[in-house]
């Protein structure tokens, strides 16, 4: 039976001079009369049935979260209509509404009520929730004393016991350990078996492939493809791999030292569009020094999407403190990364500093390190950081000897 109908939904935000702020902004005559608009969604239509798990994929800013917010009625569309049959539960962020000063018990009731449960329902499920979270001993402790894992488990346990008819889940897998992620996915499959409709936003294509029969690919606020998950993922990946991971910065005469560009190359310095994990690649940083600031040092860091720093190196680490850039000029520096990192999304951070001053320190680029074509994409990918060529070998095989006094098992 139909449970969700989204018809030609458009959502527009104003860029720059945002609504809100201070009274002075509102009264200001200099407010631009020609606001620039950002179309988060631009004529999106789809429908879903009960028991369906629909994956939503797309790059950052494609409108994935906005779709969920419209389904959950957190924000209203600028035009178009969304109709949902039954109660919509959103899991846009685990632990929303938890208050650090209150005990675990109080927070379960508070959060349950916020997510739409009645007191009697919460009381009924309280023991299940606490058991699912595994925090029995600490249930009367303020959650500010919880470890982040406990906090997350309790929050998810509450959300998982709300039992809405339609569930909108955003990137829950981006946080928590592998065990927690497995539980999340298990609970979502269970939702679908019970006839609920699940919308599942993720960057993790492996998780979408595993969870969803169908996936919607959003691109710049429009539906690019809506169909079997495998096909949507294939089309999306084909397009993403054509993108060039390279950023350029406009020249700014006011800066003594500035970044000009950051990009990926292969070991020979040729630009690469889609680095693959079993080949070395280099991160090339081009920067400009306008005034002699006493030599600058360049640092590059790599971070996975869930915030784990996997690599942080600077030029001086490898060359006894000698700065690479003495005097002025345009410098091209590259750092070669050996093929050890796991296939994942990475953010590149760059820092440029003289002994006295830090000129640049920011995250400048994200790119995807692609799996090898013969890699099996699995959920566990996200919890590993390195993927070097390990060797497997069967060392020996011996027959099973029966234990005395027991009949041999089948």
């Amino acid at each position: 039976m139909r449970s969700v109908e989204v018809h030609d939904v458009t959502k527009r935000y104003r860029i720059g001079d945002r609504w809100g702020g201070t009274v002075r902004d509102a009264l200001s005559l200099r407010r631009s009369r020609d606001p620039r608009w950002f179309w988060a969604l631009n004529g999106v239509s789809f429908a879903a049935e009960e028991g369906e798990v629909v994956g939503i994929l797309g790059r950052n800013g494609a409108g994935k979260t906005t779709v969920l917010k419209i389904l959950a009625r957190i924000t209203e569309p600028t035009a178009g209509a969304a109709r949902m049959r039954g109660r919509v539960g959103s899991l846009l962020e685990v632990g929303t509404g938890f208050h650090p000063e209150l005990s675990g018990r109080d927070n379960v009731f508070l959060n349950g009520a916020i997510l739409g449960m009645k007191r009697s329902q919460i009381r009924e499920r309280f023991d299940d929730i606490v058991e699912f979270a595994g925090v029995e001993r600490f249930i009367d402790t303020p959650v500010k004393r919880y470890s982040s894992g406990m906090y997350l488990r309790l929050a998810f346990a509450v959300a998982a016991h709300v039992e809405p008819d339609i569930v909108a889940v955003d990137e829950v897998l981006a946080v928590g350990d592998a065990e927690f992620q497995r539980r999340c996915l298990g609970k979502m499959s269970e939702f679908a078996r019970e006839g609920r409709t699940v919308f599942f936003v993720s960057h993790d294509l492996g998780a979408i492939a595993q969870m969803c029969e169908r996936a919607i690919w959003l691109d710049a606020g429009r539906v690019r493809h809506d169909g079997p998950a495998a096909r949507s993922i294939e089309l999306y990946v084909a397009e993403r791999s054509r993108e060039v991971p390279q950023v350029e910065f406009p020249r700014d005469e006011a800066k003594e030292v500035q970044l000009l560009s950051v990009g990926l190359t292969d070991e020979d310095g040729a630009q690469v569009d889609a680095p693959i994990r079993d080949r070395p690649f280099a991160i090339r940083v081009r920067f400009l020094v306008r005034r002699d600031v006493g030599g600058v040092d360049v640092g590059v860091s790599l971070m996975t999407r869930n915030g784990t720093r996997v690599l942080e190196e600077s030029w001086s680490d490898r060359s006894q403190g000698v700065a690479p850039a003495e005097g002025t000029g345009v410098f091209d520096v590259s750092m070669l990364v050996p093929p050890v990192l796991a296939a994942n999304d990475y953010a590149v951070g760059v820092s440029i500093a003289s002994p006295y001053q830090r000129f640049v320190d920011e995250e400048v680029l994200t790119f995807q390190l692609w799996p090898r074509p013969d890699d099996r994409r699995e959920l566990s990918d996200r919890s590993r950081l390195v993927q070097p060529e390990v060797g497997w070998r069967l060392e020996s095989r011996a027959p099973v000897e029966p234990v005395e006094g027991q009949p041999p098992s089948q």
């Binding site: 039976m1 449970s3 935000y13 945002r18 609504w19 809100g20 702020g21 201070t22 009274v23 002075r24 509102a26 049935e49 009960e50 028991g51 369906e52 917010k69 419209i70 389904l71 959950a72 009625r73 957190i74 924000t75 209203e76 569309p77 600028t78 035009a79 178009g80 209509a81 969304a82 109709r83 949902m84 049959r85 039954g86 109660r87 919509v88 959103s90 846009l92 962020e93 929303t96 509404g97 208050h99 000063e101 209150l102 109080d106 009731f109 508070l110 009520a113 916020i114 997510l115 739409g116 009645k118 007191r119 008819d165 078996r193 019970e194 006839g195 029969e213 169908r214």
Partner: protein, 294 residues
């Protein structure tokens, strides 16, 4: 599609009958027109959430305080002492034939409820920013839950005023039976002002800075420390436009038997209703886009 709809059909059959009937279509469409939608059924359905949010406010307020609820007595007592010294001893303000401390406490009790309630309500949406952008709930619950916890303080204050009345030998008259009505009026007025402030503060954080200052002026524009009979001529319009004046006068009359509220006080009550109604309209209008700009 055929495969998934077959799976869906079997799943629906296994649901209990009640669960299937409970489901209704909800819509999310752009709101049009000038008058907002006010979903009373939805508000009623979320009454438990209001209580839980209110309880949360109470618990948080007294967490890690030594005095706890004692603050509900200390705060007004200090004000009563100051007013008694300044207004009575130094300025010789009359007090409608009852001992001044009883008179001023009777007014302060409800004023402090108003001031605390309005302040908490002003912060309510901004404070629930995470919730507003991540979860759907009727947004009106935030200011509604904010004006409730202070009712506990008001109750304690009423008892304390009773003790004062016993000490100073003031007996309550028949008007005391009207007290619940005045409390309702106080809640409605505070909620009205609170709704305005919460919506404004969600949009302009200036409200936070202006409010402390505003409440100080407001206290002196309200007949709390002085009787309304003291206000003459052109200044009298202050009583008409001030929605709290009527509540304070009426509450004090009912509790300690001061002068009954006159025409000015009744007009002031009506002003309060106007504030509430316009506040609800304004709130509903910004509520639509709240998650986008808060």
């Amino acid at each position: 599609m055929s495969l998934s709809s077959r799976a869906a059909a079997t799943a629906t059959e296994s649901l209990p009958a009640g669960a299937r009937e409970r489901k209704r279509w909800v819509e999310n469409v752009p709101s049009r027109g000038w008058l907002p939608r006010l979903d009373v059924a939805e508000l009623w359905a979320s009454r438990e959430l209001v209580l839980i949010l209110a309880l949360r406010n109470v618990k948080i307020r007294y967490k890690q305080t030594v005095l706890g609820v004692g603050w509900a007595i200390v705060q007004p007592l200090a004000a009563v002492a100051i007013f008694t010294i300044v207004m009575r001893r130094l300025a010789h303000i009359p007090s409608e034939g009852i001992p001044y401390p009883v008179f001023v406490y009777g007014g302060l009790a409800v004023w402090i409820y108003f001031a605390n309630g309005a302040t908490t309500a002003a912060e309510s949406l901004a404070q629930y920013r995470d919730l507003v952008t991540k979860v759907y709930f009727p947004r009106l619950l935030a200011p509604l839950a904010a004006v409730m916890p202070s009712l506990i303080d008001l109750g304690i204050s009423i008892l304390a005023v009773g003790v004062f009345m016993a000490i100073f030998g003031v007996a309550p008259g028949w008007e005391i039976v009207l007290l619940p009505l005045w409390i309702v009026a106080a809640v409605a007025t505070t909620f009205g002002v609170g709704v305005w402030l919460s919506a404004l503060n969600a949009r302009y954080r200036d409200v936070r800075n202006a409010l402390t200052f505003l409440l100080q002026i407001w206290l002196f524009a309200t007949p709390v420390a002085y009787p309304s009979s003291l206000v003459h001529g052109a200044w009298r319009f202050l009583l008409y436009v001030n929605p709290v004046a009527g509540v304070v006068t009426g509450f004090r009359w009912s509790l300690v038997g001061a002068q009954p509220p006159g025409l000015a006080a009744l007009v002031s009550l009506a002003t309060g209703l106007v504030v509430l109604a316009t506040g609800l309209v304004y709130f509903a209008r910004i509520e639509r886009r709240l998650a986008d700009f808060i």
